[in-house]
Amino acid sequence: MADISRQLQEQVLHASNSGQKLNITGGNTKAFMGRKADTTANILDVSEHTGIVDYQPVELVLTVRAGTRVQDIETELAEHHQTLHFEPPQIRTNTTIGGTLACNLSGPSRPWAGSVRDQVLGIRLLNGKGEHLRFGGQVMKNVAGYDVSRLQAGAMGTLGVITEISLKVMPKPAASMTLIQDMDINEVIHYMNSRAAEPKPITAACWVDGKVYLRLAGARSAVEATADKWSGKVMENGDALWRSVQDMKHEFFSDSDTPLWRFSVSSTATNPDIDGQWFIDWAGAQRWFQGAGQLNDMEPLAQAMGGQVSLFKGGDRSGDVMHRQPDALKAIQRRIKSAFDPEGIFNPGRLYSWL
């Protein structure tokens, strides 16, 4: 529990004055993401900037320093039967909340519960001029000023150092149950979407290795009644399965030699027939693909599926790894970058070569 924002601010000011670049790091659990880090840059370590600043269970609001481990947050929330609704992946136990927001990572509940970006209410941010700014708030609704807080989701630290985050938290569901059944990949897209269109307490839907898994969670009576009505067998250790999906520790992710691609697409898109392994999550909206290939080949597939693709892990990380942007969006993101970080000191080239 320490507030090291002053030290962080000094480091940023120093970098800004000396032209030194900074690679922002928390638990360093997501170093595999994005493009290769600039080796000439200094490390700005946020992992010591920890602690819960304020937590009001009845307000459903939590404010934490960005270096706080997700694990510690979950422990604290659990004491009040609450949880981070977006199920943040803990790739390792030292995964921090700041990194989770910067990389916009959310777990299997995401289509129903929203993403980390959706739960963010406000942030504090050190910009490239070393100014420590506050955006958003600690209340559910705040529409004063531009939504700079949510802008950080997926920006991978290119706009500044997130130092503090206020998040909406939610009650833990009273009960949960997982239904499992065999299903072909060609049928599962329609099946998962049809289930998601029913007014039932579904909170996760994934498919891997010829089996579809649906999670029901909420009031016990509702969960049980729906499980009775829907096909599929009740799975013994359903929660363990979802935990492994959330933390990317499911067997599917254990192959570290083959490149892992992430397709974020229309939930109803037909799955392309290419060589490799698929893990379909988010009722079809997030599809993991393990297989060789180039970004050039993957982008048209993702576009045909109404979305985008990124090379999530492995493969060649010296070129672009994120779905490339049209010129208009490239230009505006460059301008936004210089609005926050005029000297270009934060995470150079990490998100895109041109940022």
């Binding site: 307000e59 009031a219 697409v265």
Partner: protein, 490 residues
Amino acid sequence: MTTKTKITKAELTRQFQTFIDPDWVITDDETMRPYECDGLSMYRELPLLVVLPETVAQVQRIMRICNEHQVPVVARGAGTGLSAGAMPHKEGVLLSMAKFNRILNIDPLARTARLQPGVRNLAISEEAAQYGLYYGPDPSSQIACTIGGNVAENSGGVHCLKYGLTTHNLHRVEMVTAEGQLMVIGSEGLDTCGMDLLALITGSEGLLGVVTEVTVKLLPRPEVAQVVMAGFDNVQTAGDAVGTIIANGIIPAGLEMMDSHAIIAADDFAQAGYPRDARALLLCEVDGTEEEVHEHIAQTEALFRKLGATSVRTSRSEEERELLWKGRKCAFPAVGRISPDYYCMDGTIPRRHLAHVLAEMETMSEKFGLRVANVFHAGDGNLHPLILFDANIPGEFERAEAFGSSILRLCVDVGGCITGEHGVGIEKVRQMAIQFNDEELQQFHDVKNAFDPAGILNPGKGVPTLRFCQEYRSLEYKLHTHELVDVAHG
């Protein structure tokens, strides 16, 4: 780079009429009159001219011409906004998006709707109903307000705590920039690579671009919804009850509170059978499957009784549910009946400070000599104090504004903010200086500059200039010190 070249009204009109039906380029005061204000009618201005394009290409050309000549552009949906965000600029173009009113596609399996920006909020749910789906955010103006305006304001409604604001219910937005470029932001998926521009655009109050198409998420319509109404003999108990319901793991679909002034006005208006002697009234709606609603309603009733409710009533039919809501939904016009004019404020607070804030408001009410009725989205801490005044009495509106300003300051002082869902517009541009410091405001200006270097989109709204803020802060300081002196001497 653009260079400023003065353009006359006649020349601008002539240029627009070369690619837009001349009937849709309006230049006479009489026909422009309906556009002079939005839902906050105390702020009025006639624009240079009004233009109603019919295609995206026309919007792009309008923007290019205006950008070249640095003519201000104010985009407008239905004009239901409550912060004068759509009030015209007197030297600028009022760009009405009213002709973009088509629902382009509803995909029942993917649960999405692709819309032109002028589609009304309620029309989305009406069209989606045939598939058992609806659109979540439901601002009170949903009969009239448009989805383009909802994106601009990040509109909420009574169901935000459970179903989120506009920003939580979007897939994709098409937008024309100040420079006339068409941008596609977001996708049919749930996220995209790079910065979250969709978040930045949502709630940007027409300062960053003109929305030309929106794809929203649709939700399955819940099987059942029931509402529990509970009366309390003091506000603190009612406020605590809200916290306790939520702490018990129930997330109501809607959780509204009214104070005694609002209860009586609403009950007179709607004859909803509200407990007229109560100091605070809660309406707690639970939705979901039949089993879930049954379970949560029983828990809610029991909790309200245990927490000291003086009356508890649960809707047993759709008619009864609608009747109980009717009073709340008519609260604004109901208050309108007991006063010639009212001024609706929109602050948010951490809920635990509710009793304190309401008590302070009573004190202010006496000080300013104006009545105030309170309607409150209790679940998410969004207050709507309705300040009652008579615009025909000289000085009353100014007093109402000063009262409103004091309420917003109070909201910030207890850790809240100056607007929960109505936006800053012109109305609250002064109070931005209370919530944000100069460095933060400058950062907002830098963001604006990234999108609109010439500063033509909705100038003067949303973010105040820093010089203005310094003047305002020093004025506020003087007023505040005088207030303290007044209280000390009183």
